[in-house]
Symmetry: C2
Subunit: 173 residues, 2 copies
């Protein structure tokens, strides 16, 4: 399946989660077995030929894509979580929301210096969560090979905030 | 990797998320590429020979295991989510916590009657979330082939609450 066929399975939901937001719902794509496998394969394109030690997946929808990418690439899987979920010693990074801030956490033994990782999430909007994840990975000394998204909202210019890191997105709006 | 080798990579965290709870932390297993792939393969054992239309994965740690199982089995992926996360029309099922209740939701078009599904989560404790997920799937008319966990806490007897549904767990405490 190519990107256009995948995009046709993404459903637009107006005014979710709040008025004025057009939500791109990937659940019809995920439930289609050919589309799901095709999306994972496209998100892995260009990565299979490299050494990737870990996929770093962002809670929660990033897990739906990052975990199968790790399996396909023969990599380990490292979850970045919302505050209070990880039980061991952890690092925290804040990121801005429209109003206020939120945080992401990673275990402080999740990665070793020099390990080659790819960050995965479902959607690139303003880039806040991906930038926060990059800062966590830099604190651990990991080598960030790239960031991989299923969907990119290009009008929000999140890609520019990820300067210097290769960004891959399968479906673009 | 066999179940004992996987179990050796699960870390015990006392008093998390609250005093008196011994938390079984699977993150050291997930980040080990051989263990992660081995866990997915063991969780899929006996399923590859059957027709499985969808993996139904429970938020959030269930996604880390259910999504790669769907990829490996060539199945579609259906996320069950916490309240307020799914954007389309949905069904809700409540389940009891030690104090109060919580809910899980599924899109009402996630599955068609007769589709063969496997429920996946990281850990079977009292069985509340798996039972709630079963009730969602029954409302949609799905055929529940089984429930697959990475870890089972046998002393909590969750398996008994899933009467009539085959339960698979790789690591048992």
């Amino acid at each position: 399946m190519n990107a256009a066929e995948l995009q046709a399975l993404i459903r637009d939901i107006p005014d979710f989660p709040q008025p004025g937001i057009l939500f791109r719902d990937i659940t019809p794509l995920l439930k289609d077995k050919r589309a799901f496998a095709g999306a994972i394969d496209l998100m892995c394109e260009g990565l299979a030929a490299q050494r990737i030690d870990h996929i770093v997946a962002i809670e929660a929808r990033g897990y739906l894509l990052g975990a199968p990418m790790a399996y396909r690439l023969g990599a380990g899987l490292v979850p970045v979580r919302k505050p209070g979920k990880l039980p061991f010693k952890r690092l925290t990074a804040d990121y801005a929301l429209e109003y206020g801030t939120n945080s992401l956490e990673i275990h402080n033994d999740a990665l070793s210096p020099g390990e080659r990782v790819v960050i995965v999430d479902d959607l690139l909007a303003t880039g806040g969560t991906a930038v926060a994840t990059k800062s966590l990975l830099k604190q651990l000394g990991a080598a960030i090979v790239g960031v991989s998204f299923l969907v990119e909202l290009t009008a929000l210019h999140g890609r520019e905030k990820l300067d210097g890191t290769p960004v891959n997105a399968v479906v673009k709006y």
